[in-house]
Chain length 148, copies 2
Amino acid sequence: MLDEIDRMLLALLKQDTRRKYSELGEIVHLSPPAVHERVKKLERAGVIRGYTIEIAPDALGLSLYAFVRLRVSRVPCEELARTLHTFSEVEECYSSAGTESMMIKVHTATPATLELLLDRIRQMPGVEGFQTSIVLATHFQRENIPMD
Amino acid sequence: MLDEIDRMLLALLKQDTRRKYSELGEIVHLSPPAVHERVKKLERAGVIRGYTIEIAPDALGLSLYAFVRLRVSRVPCEELARTLHTFSEVEECYSSAGTESMMIKVHTATPATLELLLDRIRQMPGVEGFQTSIVLATHFQRENIPMD
DNA sequence: AGTGAAAGTGCTTGTGG
DNA sequence: CCACAAGCACTTTCACT
């Protein structure tokens, strides 16, 4: 489905989408229209879901990250996820195997804001309790694009 | 530092960077060159760190996500982070407050690959143990851009 | 800082191999 | 599936407000 050239293009575009097609073509040894054709195909296939910017995490005045693991009972996780989606501070939401059935990543300006958020989460039906891990440092974030 | 128009532009570009400057200008009531000027300023200020693509998580044949919380002793977290960076399956790496001093997000093709990775992590000096949470569902991932 | 017009550049499409 | 060439749209710059 995806050959090596496709994977190289994905890796290159992941680094910087504003590379010229001619530049990409030189690297993968293809002409600009050929690169264009492949990229469009990746878009249509849904492999490339969208073109976005990476924003400096601290530029927006939100300095506090935390992971919260939720202990859930009775209520389906998907239903809780819909409620959590309405809290703008909740940036990621997962279901997981284990005692804590859900895990979220939250992003707030201050500890006080985090406390308010946790208060709201505590009141959600089905949430029996949670464990919070404050993030002290983000060492790296990246994406793994295997070339096989 | 960042006014409301800047934040709107960031939110719009986050959704789709291939919007035309004229299109952005209509929304924020500015001319294309004015939008251009602001975007360049955001780039120079480091608020916009880069332009990337979003890749469908399952398109690359990696179907298994897991969070691993590491119990660390003796060794500085930053040193462990450098070692973890050499494992391509480790996509995110954080230091956190609490009993488990570090937390990583890993992305592998199969449970067998995950096991091999955990074996390697287990052998790292300073890693006393870890707890693994397999991700069953990713409900949402997004970014919070406050408009204040 | 923002506007308007003009120039430059790369994207995009059609034709052909 | 890819290379070549041309039309076209957008980005980018410049002079001015």
